[in-house]
Amino acid sequence: MKILSYAFAAGLAVASMATPAAAAEITGAGATFPFPVYAKWAEAYKKETNNSLNYQSIGSSGGIRQIRAKTVDFGATDAPLKGEELQKDGFVQFPTVMGGVVPVINIQGVETRQLKLTGEVLADIFNGKISKWSDAKIAGLNQGVKLPDATITPVYRSDGSGTTSVFTTYLSQVSESWKSGPGVGASVQWPVGQGGKGNEGVAALVKQVPNSIGYVEYAYAKQNNIPYAQLQNKNGKFVAPDDKTFQAAAANADWKSAPGFGISLTNQAGDEAWPITAPTFILVPKNPEKPEQVAEVLKFFDWVFNKGDQMAVELDYVPLPAALKQQIRDTWKAEIKGKDGQPLLRS
């Protein structure tokens, strides 16, 4: 009897403790590219508000599938959904952060930022049309750089990836033969080269194979000290990837030109613009079944827009311009409504 009453008391205590500690927990799934910064934001957000974010980096297509099935509160994707798809699914789409993709190289005696390439030459290398580093087209761009008469090994991502999608989008914009050949996608049919799994797989192969060239996210190349090349942008200037050139790519972009801010930042005009820049996106339902959860999602990203820039920069991501953040907040207020028809985010 005594034991029973103890148990009852303990049960009460647990119940009373549980109620006030019931902080909001939001779940999201999707793109792997922004995962490090989402994780960092979530950690800081939890410290400050006690609300937690559970983000699963299962890949962009997975994120889209999950939000369509309503198993998560938000989906995340690197490749934006098109206007009609957003309409059909009833989603609001907005960007959160930007990053860049850079060509990484392993050529004996060639240092980082020393090699210069144009988009067309890059496409021809990955197409197998240019097969030697000594090719006249490369040599013409790199007078004074000693390039070996060796076969180029292109290295690509073997797993379906937003990085590949961004990279092939760029190649299609600058090369007709790429557009009509392998095309754009999370995984395409590569005519030549070798595939590595994930950024780390590509980086390992590029490091191991002499005279190879691959592509990885900028943060990955920088943090691992992998030599990368300069690229010629739309204005004909050669630029090296860094936060300034990524921001320059975003500066001239017309975000309102596509529904859900779904523009591509590849091959943007601007003297300073890095040509392979890309934003990553979030999807939330317009008229959610669980409005309180979506309100928490919006609160989280509102907090991110206010306080998350420094954390993003530390991880070599590029924060959105202030004007764009305001546009996104306006969109939330205008489009995401609760069951009562009132905007979910009121502040």
Binding site: R65, T151, G160, P182, Q194, G195, G196, K197, V209
Partner: protein, 323 residues
């Protein structure tokens, strides 16, 4: 003598049955039956959902799905041939390398090994079986592949260049260290502990009297192994090898890291390729529509291949048993 023991056993079980409650017995029978049925149901469920998922791809491409070498997501053209060839060739390489070594280990441990060395060697081999496959993949890519490129691929390629046949099969245009052969070697390391430890158990179970009599009539160790142990253990060893083959065919993570992941058929075993499992591991995350169906269809084919291997193993065992 034997009959007597059997009688004894019979009476004993009879007494046990009578003394126990019939309901408990029935419950026990039901519980074990449903455990067995559950496995069958899960298996049937997996097969059914894979066939359901893969059906659109089979309908779209028909038999051509198996023989086509295309894998072009943008044009929605899919074929399994490259992956099937990659799966079979990497698994075959694994067996060619792994089986002799496994048998050597088992014979050494049971026949030749001094007692003090037996336990450390056996434990090490069992530990190998416990290493997660992602570790083998990482190790293969970051440690093994660079060494393999430097000390095997490049010298071999230089040696065989221009020689007919070998100049093709063993020539690597890109000595990156990854490729079908590397995958086969990593797979061999992964299946050795399985085959070796099962074979060791089998050899241990052969009655000592057989071995002793062979030694007694003056056989050498080799003759004992060749003419006494191997014929006795042969069937079971085939079973052990087939278990290893099953693992090699389906291994995913380790292979994905070291096979090079190219959708191309190549005559050289140094060149990159892909297997069914690695293709699925690479693309499933980001697959939509027909691509997803094609991956499911690949899964069906892998299932079929593994099933065929098991059936062949059964037939082999049955044939050996009747002789």
């Amino acid at each position: 003598m034997v009959a007597l023991t059997q009688d004894l056993v019979m009476t004993r079980t009879d007494t046990v049955r009578r003394s126990s409650k019939p309901t408990a017995d029935r419950l026990f029978r039901l519980a074990s039956l449903s455990s067995a049925l559950l496995v069958l149901m899960v298996l049937a469920g997996i097969v059914a959902s894979m066939i359901y998922g893969g059906l659109p791809a089979f309908q779209e491409f028909g038999f051509g799905f198996i023989t086509s070498t295309a894998w072009d997501v943008n044009r929605d053209q899919y074929g399994a041939w490259v992956a099937i060839v990659g799966t079979l060739s990497s698994a075959s390489i694994a067996l060619i390398i792994g089986v002799p070594i496994s048998l050597g280990i088992a014979i050494f441990l049971t026949q030749l090994c001094p007692a003090w060395l037996k336990r450390p060697v056996a434990t090490t081999i069992e530990l190998l079986a416990a290493v997660p496959s992602i570790i083998y993949g990482m190790w293969g890519l970051f440690v093994f592949a660079p060494l393999f490129a430097k000390f095997v691929q490049i010298p071999t390629s230089q040696l065989v260049e221009g020689i007919p046949f070998f100049g093709t099969v063993l020539y690597s245009r890109v000595p990156s260290g990854v490729g079908v052969l590397t995958a086969g070697i990593i797979l061999a390391i992964m299946i050795i502990p399985f085959i070796a430890s099962i074979t060791r158990d089998i050899l241990d179970q052969i009655p000592t009297i057989l071995r002793e009599s062979a030694y007694g009539i003056g056989c050498t160790t080799w003759e004992v192994v060749r003419h006494v142990l191997m014929p006795q253990a042969g069937v079971s060893i085939i079973g052990a090898v087939m278990l290893g083959l099953g693992r090699a065919l389906g291994e995913t993570m380790a292979v994905t890291f070291v096979i090079g992941n190219a959708n191309r058929l190549s005559a050289s075993i140094f060149d990159p390729g892909s297997t069914i499992a690695s293709r699925i591991a690479n693309e499933f995350n980001e697959a939509l529509g027909l691509q997803l169906n094609a991956l499911m269809a690949l899964g069906c084919i892998l299932f079929l291949v593994t099933f065929t291997v098991l059936v062949i193993a059964r037939i082999l065992i049955a044939r050996v048993q009747t002789h």
